[in-house]
């Protein structure tokens, strides 16, 4: 029985969660996390025993710490962006034009290795279009990325 429940969770969230409004449920731009009511001794202990406070995660449940995990999405870029704190990493990499988070995004979107350099360059050049405001959601970022890709002749076929 427990395995069935687990599997349901796994299928539901192969890579995390649906995005929700920024700040709303703890996802989105600007949420650095680690809030919570644990306090210092609790945190020290959690570090000491490398533990989790209360919640156990197994399977491929998302463990997004504050993000909504109910979304039924598969292995796809948007889910990655919805992971707490990841959107900032991707944004930073796009601003600079390179970085592991941006590479991982391209991998998760199924962009072949030989196209990744071009993908990164295109994202770098369109940074302001992709991140128009600090209130942008993972969903919007993803759709902005798609739009940018559609307008690029090399990337259009991949989006």
């Amino acid at each position: 029985m427990r395995k069935t429940l687990l599997a349901a969770a796994l299928v539901a969230t192969s890579f995390g969660a649906q995005a929700s409004a920024p700040g709303g449920s703890g996802c989105g731009w600007g949420n650095m996390l680690f809030e919570g009511n644990n306090g210092m001794p609790m945190h020290l202990l959690a570090t000491l025993v490398n533990g989790t406070s209360g919640n156990r995660t197994f399977g491929i449940t998302s463990g997004t710490n504050g993000c909504d995990t109910s979304g039924a999405l598969s292995y796809h870029g948007e889910n990655m962006l919805a992971q707490a704190g990841v959107m900032e990493e991707v944004a930073q990499d796009m601003a600079v034009g390179d970085g592991e988070a941006l590479t991982a995004l391209s991998v998760s979107m199924g962009i072949p290795a030989e196209e990744r350099e071009h993908f990164k360059k295109t994202m770098h050049e369109n940074f302001s279009t992709i991140f128009p405001s600090e209130d942008v959601t993972a969903e919007e970022v993803m759709s902005n990325i798609q739009n940018v890709m559609n307008q690029d002749k090399q990337l259009a076929s991949l989006s």
Binding site: M32, M42, T47, V49, N50, I60, Y75, E100, S108, R116
Partner: protein, 608 residues
């Protein structure tokens, strides 16, 4: 074909050929014991039986203590075609199926949950991850380890990997003294968890400022299959979490040992499992293929700041506070490449400052504005932090020292044994500069015309020097408890003490000056009161030169009974190879009325 392969593997491994084994003999097969987590004398607790008490993990009621009964129950329940138990114990099924040559009846194909999980779980590469200790966080000082399971062989995709972590589950309602007690001495249930690796990158490298070392293991496809199948069996299974030995690192070793039971990983008795030693064990047993370094956010900021002039650093700070500084003349006057570095430093600083707590609209807005500045200036590459020596290359974590010297006009000989780990003048390769963590450090001494005496016993001695600069303002601290000797009147009295305090430190190249305020409580036979208290200060400088480490320090304490103690010292440490060092120390200890000078020379040998 399958059994030929298996036989070949077993022959290669020098193991007895189990292929013709009877069910009875199978109960002692190394892999069967590994599947049941039987302690074969590796740690002190639960020897000869399974580490696991959870009845969910066993098919026989006395399975935890009787590997043979468990084997028979497993054969009985896993043998029938389409058995439900197979879906809970796929690795056991795989083992018995191969060993007993069961007919091909569809195996695990009816286990749709398991099949689905295996399809979604990556499984192409396995890495051991070691988030190193963070200088100023005592609880992280021994580090941590977890496993990373990669999707595909694409190194670019590690952000998409899964993390397998063993940790205690702590409930939030208890009081904090109990936490610490239970954390140290057991009593917390431990579970395996399986979360996106990017969450671990965020937790360690971004939130806790811990560098991460990623050791790619050379597990074969077959070995990874064992590991993953068994991992499924461990879902929601409760272990005990013991801080010293049965901890995060030990449980991972068990998993890796299961994947390759012929390895020597679990051969030695382990009193305590220190993560750096876990890495060394894997290295010695030939598991490690390559090493990657992932710097923390704080180190990334430091690397950026190192590229800036003092004026540019000021600009970066101003820009982090107010993004419109980018429009001002001072910023506009910089070369475009400098603008890029300044803006990146400003952004890194802003994020580091705001990494905890709730979202702030204003900070989010400023962050995006800074990234726009970064985006419109030409990217400067090659600003990644330099990779330090990896932790497993450092000196051994245990130490023995022999030496002698003069105290006043009398000679002495001394032996020292330290159980753990590193002081800040030991060879810094593979360790953090300015971090010291010592536990159970004892010195016994024979002075001319005297009996053998205990000179010092540090139960715990932790010192952290976290350098401050314009961007980071951490507070250093130290805490020390145990026994030491103190000259009171004309006699050196053994005192039981605890002392500690906050401090400040700075870094100037390889030199670290520091100052601590300190408080001390002690019990000695010279004072009438049970506990004497003192307040004072300690200041000094560390120099990490190329071939040696030098520490100069002075300490002054003022006691509540007007007693005073002064202790200036100089210590020189010269490493000889990785695991030896010559140490010389001169110290003056005493009060205003009487003081003695000690010269001490010792040879230090590090091991394990």
């Amino acid at each position: 074909m399958r059994s030929i392969n298996l036989a070949l593997i077993l022959v290669l491994a020098g193991a007895p050929l189990w292929a013709q084994a009877t069910p009875g003999e199978l109960a002692t097969h190394p892999r069967w014991k590994a599947l049941l987590h039987i302690n074969e004398g590796t740690t002190w607790r639960y020897q000869g039986r399974s580490y696991i008490d959870d009845p969910e993990f066993f098919l026989h009621e006395s399975g935890a203590t009787d590997a043979h009964a468990e084997l028979e129950a497993s054969i009985e329940q896993l043998r029938p075609e389409g058995s439900e138990a197979r879906c809970d114990f796929p690795a056991r099924y795989r083992f018995l199926d191969r060993q007993l040559d069961w007919p091909d009846d569809g195996g695990l194909s009816h286990c749709s949950d398991y099949q689905e999980w295996r399809r979604d779980m990556p499984g192409e590469r396995v890495a051991l991850i070691f988030p190193a200790s963070y200088l100023n966080s005592p609880s992280s000082m021994f580090g941590h380890t977890l496993l990373r399971i990669d999707r595909g062989n694409d190194e670019d995709g590690v952000w998409l990997s899964r993390a397998i972590n063993f940790g205690a589950t702590v409930q939030g309602q208890e009081n904090s003294i109990l936490y610490v007690y239970r954390g140290l001495f057991g009593g917390y249930p431990g579970y395996f968890s399986n979360v996106p690796y990017m969450n671990k990158i965020r937790d360690y490298a971004h939130l806790e400022n811990r560098d991460m070392w990623e050791y790619q293991l050379n597990l074969t496809q077959g070995e990874r299959d064992w590991l993953l199948a068994h991992l499924w069996e461990l879902e929601d299974i409760e272990f005990d979490y013991l801080f010293l030995d049965e901890n995060c690192s030990f449980r991972l070793l068990e998993l890796i040992h299961l994947a390759r039971p012929e390895s020597t990983l679990m051969d030695d008795f382990r009193f305590a499992e220190v993560p750096a030693n876990t890495v060394r064990s894997l290295d010695r047993a030939g598991f490690i293929e390559s090493v990657e370094y992932r710097p923390s956010k704080a180190n990334e900021l430091d690397a950026l700041v190192d590229r800036l002039s003092a004026g540019e650093q000021d600009l970066a700070l101003a820009l982090a506070r107010d993004a419109s500084v980018a429009e001002k003349e001072a910023f506009q006057a910089l070369a475009p490449r400098s603008q890029n570095l300044v803006a990146r430093a400003a952004y890194a600083y802003l994020r580091l400052q705001n990494r905890e707590g709730a979202r702030s609209q204003e900070v989010a807005q400023r962050g995006l504005a800074l990234l726009r500045v970064v985006n419109r200036t030409p990217t400067v590459s090659g600003v990644d932090p330099e990779r330090p020596v990896s932790p497993e290359k450092g000196h051994g974590t245990k130490m023995l020292a022999a030496g002698g010297g003069m105290l006043g006009d009398r000679g002495f000989g001394e032996l020292q044994a330290r159980f753990s780990y590193h002081d800040w003048l030991d060879n810094p390769e593979g360790y953090l500069n300015g971090a010291a963590i010592e536990a159970f450090d004892a010195r016994i001494r024979r002075t001319e015309g005297d009996d053998l005496t205990l000179e010092q016993l540090d139960v715990v001695n932790i010192k952290s020097l976290a350098p401050r600069n314009r961007f980071r303002k951490p507070v250093s601290w130290f805490v020390n408890g145990g026994l030491d000797r103190r000259l009171i009147g004309s006699k050196r009295h053994l005192t039981r003490h605890i002392q500690g305090g906050p401090g400040l430190a700075w870094e100037m190249g390889s030199v670290i000056p520091y100052a601590y305020a300190m408080a001390r409580a002690e019990n000695n036979s010279a004072h009438d009161v049970l506990v004497s208290t003192a307040a004072g200060a300690r200041a000094g400088v560390l120099w990490y030169a190329d071939g040696f480490q030098l520490g100069l320090e002075a300490e002054g304490l003022y006691y509540h009974n007007d007693d005073r103690r002064y202790r200036p010292s100089a210590t020189l440490n010269v490493p000889v190879g990785r695991n030896h060092a010559l140490r010389a120390r001169v110290e003056r200890d005493g009060g205003p009325d009487r003081a003695e000078t000690e010269f001490h020379l010792s040879w230090r040998y590090y091991f394990d």
